[in-house]
């Protein structure tokens, strides 16, 4: 209470108080910064240190063992499949959201965001129930006479993709939508009047304009999907292990802390590389649009 932040008196008393008032923001952010340093950054440093126990043996083991290389490949394959599916579905959904108004728009927004706040575990559990051999989808197809025997819809890559796309879709839709909202509809009209066909209009005018949104959406979905754990563990089969499952298994089953740490560092590195590549392409895309 003694320190009056009244700008006038502070000015009279000299620069120190003024500087303190300006440095206030650091004081406010300090507790959270300290908290993150101790409970977030320090554990990550601990992982990095442990992964290097005994030199680079752990990393040699990851990249020298066919089994682990295959896990890394599966992880990237799933991330790619999920990103492409999210892009196709998400682009169409974002367009619907940007083109509609009123209740329909509210409805579409709710349908996208309400599941977003329901836990990943529960939604994955629901997919397991729906996709299993005795689940709704197989029973429905059987009842309709479309198939003779139940399809294997879970414990494989298809199941993982269904679950992951379901969870990651909002991360694709929202960045694309924010870009679509800023596009002047007159541009499309101008292209149409100038005689461009619908398809040409879309591919030469609309799509390039939404490219920054597409790239942001893809980077989010791709980096998040690399680290997915619950969905592949529940909906995937034994041969579709992803790197996050391996990390967890090495701790809970093998109790091999240093190898698990090395896998964690590898995952972080891959995530960083993907992020950097996309950031680079985003810069290029913006430059081309601007020029």
């Amino acid at each position: 209470m003694t320190i009056a932040a009244n700008p006038e008196t502070a000015g009279e008393r000299g620069g120190l108080l003024r500087r303190m008032a300006r440095a206030n923001w650091l004081l406010l952010a300090l507790p959270a910064l300290a908290f993150f340093s101790i409970f977030f950054v320090y554990p990550l440093i601990d992982i990095a240190m442990r992964s290097l126990q005994g030199g680079v043996v752990n990393y040699e083991r990851i990249f020298g063992t066919t089994l682990y290389v295959r896990v890394v490949m599966t992880t990237f394959e799933m991330a790619l499949i999920v990103t492409v599916c999210c892009l196709v579905i998400g682009y169409a959904y974002a367009y619907a959201l940007s083109a509609t108004g009123g209740y329909l728009q509210v409805f579409l927004t709710l349908a996208l965001l309400l599941p977003f706040w329901v836990s990943v575990l529960l939604r994955t559990f629901a997919w397991l129930v729906l996709l299993q051999n005795t689940g709704l989808i197989n029973q429905g197809l059987l009842a309709l006479g479309l198939i003779d025997a139940p399809f294997q819809l879970v414990r494989n890559k298809f199941g993982i993709a269904v679950g992951m796309v379901n969870i990651l879709l909002p991360y694709m839709v929202l960045p694309i939508l924010s870009v679509m909202k800023g596009i002047d509809p007159k541009l499309m009209l101008a292209a149409r009047i100038s005689g461009a066909s619908y398809l040409r209009c879309f591919f030469r005018v609309y799509l390039p304009l939404t490219l920054p949104g597409i790239i942001s959406g893809c980077v989010l979905v791709m980096t998040l999907s690399l680290g997915f754990y619950i969905v592949p563990a529940v909906l995937g089969g034994g041969r579709d292990t992803m790197i996050a499952q391996l990390i967890a298994d090495q701790i809970t089953r093998q109790v091999n802390f240093s190898f698990s740490s090395a896998l964690a560092v590898t995952l972080m590195l891959f995530t960083g590389i993907v992020f950097a590549l996309f950031a680079l392409s985003l810069r290029l895309a913006k430059k081309r649009l601007g020029g």
Binding site: A5, A32, F36, W117, R123, L128, Y229, I251
Partner: protein
């Protein structure tokens, strides 16, 4: 012909969108009817109608204990993350230096960190410190995930706050603390409130870090569900899931009402 393709395309698009909406919403809603099954199977459409799985949940001391643990941890997380997150958001908002962007990135980075990586790191460190398997340990770990959520919510609220109220209040002679408690905090209340609700949901739903950090006596609901999903699918999970989905939806509605009332 061109006309036909156009109408046909539009129809196809509408059907596709309807399917996507079903795909998004169905797995969330399907839990509720499944939980009322009369038989010991996760059948949909459900067979009969009974509360037997809710009764089974309420009569099982393990599940009830987990419900209490989850609630304790979630409220603890709200207390820690709402305090630290609000202060941090206000600090970030006032910051005018070049440090702002990197600091903000730093404080939001737990959102994009693979949660398994965070889980093993926290597990190894907390085991050494002797707080693995305790409720404070869980609260701390959940807060790492929840603070960024609060920061985003409060920052959004700060951006919509009229810019000159704080200088005006200080100019009229209010002390820094008085301005904070009488002007800023009341204006930010909706933002802090929605941040707190989202922090609650974050903790309430967290499964991965919790499986590493819980001891048998501190199992949370998601940890039990996780165990249940791996060992066998019991309709109790659907009953618990329905309770959790309902709670989440309620929280969402409360935030929605709070926001629209503020706007009105």
């Amino acid at each position: 012909m061109d006309r036909f393709i156009q109408t046909f395309g539009k129809g196809l698009y509408v059907v596709f969108m309807a399917l996507v909406v079903v795909y998004l919403v169905f797995p969330v809603l399907v839990m509720i009817p499944i939980s009322f099954n009369e038989i010991n199977d996760l059948r949909f459409p459900p067979v009969g109608f009974s509360f037997r799985w809710y009764e089974a949940f309420a009569n099982d001391p393990v599940w009830v204990h987990a419900l209490f643990t989850s609630t304790k941890v979630a409220f603890g997380t709200v207390a820690v993350s709402a305090t630290l997150g609000t202060l941090a958001a206000m600090g970030l908002f006032q910051c005018r230096s070049l440090m702002r962007a990197p600091l903000q990135g730093y404080m939001l980075s737990p959102i994009v960190t693979p949660v398994v990586v965070l889980a093993i790191g926290v597990f190894m460190v907390f085991s050494r410190w002797g707080i693995a398997g305790t409720i404070p340990g869980l609260i701390i770990a959940h807060s790492v995930l929840a603070i960024p959520v609060v920061i985003v919510a409060v920052l959004t609220a700060l951006q919509t706050m009229p810019p000159n109220v704080v200088p005006a209040a200080t100019g009229l002679g209010g002390s820094r603390l008085r301005v904070f408690f009488r002007i800023e905090l009341p204006l930010l209340r909706p933002g802090i409130f929605s941040g707190a609700v989202f922090a609650f949901i974050t903790s309430w739903d967290e499964a991965v870090i919790s499986t590493f950090l819980t001891a048998p006596a501190t199992k949370t609901l998601p940890v039990l569900i996780w165990g249940g999903v791996q060992t066998g699918l019991s309709p109790i999970i659907a009953a618990v899931g329905s309770i959790m989905v309902t709670l989440t939806a309620l929280a969402f509605v409360v935030v929605w009402i709070f926001r629209t009332r503020k706007a009105a």
